[in-house]
């Protein structure tokens, strides 16, 4: 049953990821991306990582997607943007990239098939152990990620700020 659910959710994730990278409308692509995130969260649940699944839904499908949707709302101009995007991406012209990606996938799969994993034991990890690890041996990494987030905040504010003199030059 778990295997069947895994196949179902991974198929959903792959199909919606393919639809994400081929849409012309950015909003449609983002909605397909949310479906991909949900399917990946389902896979995390099946792997016994309930905390990771919850974080996937809250942070990825929630917070990061909200960022994307807000920016798309600011920049999307309806038909004009759609026409520009239809000129920028044509599925017929992407055959070289398809060949390259299929080659990459085949190579990775070949590399994978040279060694086999015999047992299929999957142990669920509880949040208790995760928290103890996070605030024990990995304490420095937590501090570093806090610094990373702070610098990203400062950088995003600085880049996104409207500079009056630069606008006048245009």
């Amino acid at each position: 049953m778990i295997g069947f659910l895994f196949f179902l959710s991974s198929t959903v994730a792959l199909i919606s990821a393919l639809l994400t990278v081929t849409r012309h409308n950015a909003v449609h692509a983002l909605l397909y991306l949310v479906i991909t995130m949900m399917a990946i969260a389902m896979i995390f649940f099946l792997l016994g990582a309930a905390f990771a699944a919850a974080l996937q839904i809250i942070v990825y499908a929630g917070a990061i997607m909200v960022l994307f949707v807000f920016v798309t709302m600011m920049l999307h101009q309806g038909e004009v943007t759609m026409k520009q995007e239809a000129l920028l991406y044509q599925a017929k012209q992407s055959s070289t990239a398809i060949i390259l990606c299929v080659l990459l996938l085949l190579e990775l799969v070949y590399m994978l098939s040279s060694f086999s994993t015999a047992q299929t034991i999957m142990t669920p990890i509880n949040v208790n152990e995760l928290g103890a690890q996070l605030y024990g041996p990995y304490l420095l990494l937590v501090e570093l990620s806090a610094l990373l987030l702070l610098s990203a905040l400062v950088g995003a504010f600085h880049i996104g700020r409207r500079h009056q003199e630069q606008d006048r030059q245009l």
């Binding site: 990946i40 792997l47 920016v71 990239a97």
Partner: protein, 100 residues
């Protein structure tokens, strides 16, 4: 139970889709979305390895990937807004001169 080979195959396929997206799209929004897909593929393999080995290290790596993705999206989207203000387009091929 789920065979680890299938999970690795799923992750590789998702990663290839992300690479395809970065290669073919010229709109900056779609390139950022494709990078998100690739980061998710890596996260899947980390979480799978964590539950395969029975240790929590992989999930801690997943938390770090999540942090990285959030920062990357914040910086990337602010760069995108900046680019749209200056150029009024999101085509990355327009950014071919370094005069600024």
């Amino acid at each position: 139970m789920i065979d680890p080979d299938y999970i690795v195959f799923f992750s590789l396929a998702l990663f290839s889709i992300g690479v395809y997206g970065v290669l073919v799209r010229r709109n900056l929004v779609f390139m950022l979305i494709s990078i998100e897909i690739m980061l998710n593929a890596v996260a899947v393999i980390f979480v799978a390895a964590s539950s395969y080995h029975g240790t929590s290290d992989g999930q801690i790596m997943y938390l770090l990937i999540l942090t990285l993705a959030a920062s990357e999206v914040a910086i990337g989207l602010s760069l995108l807004i900046h680019m749209y203000r200056r150029r009024h387009t999101l085509d990355v091929d327009q950014l071919s001169n370094m005069r600024g």
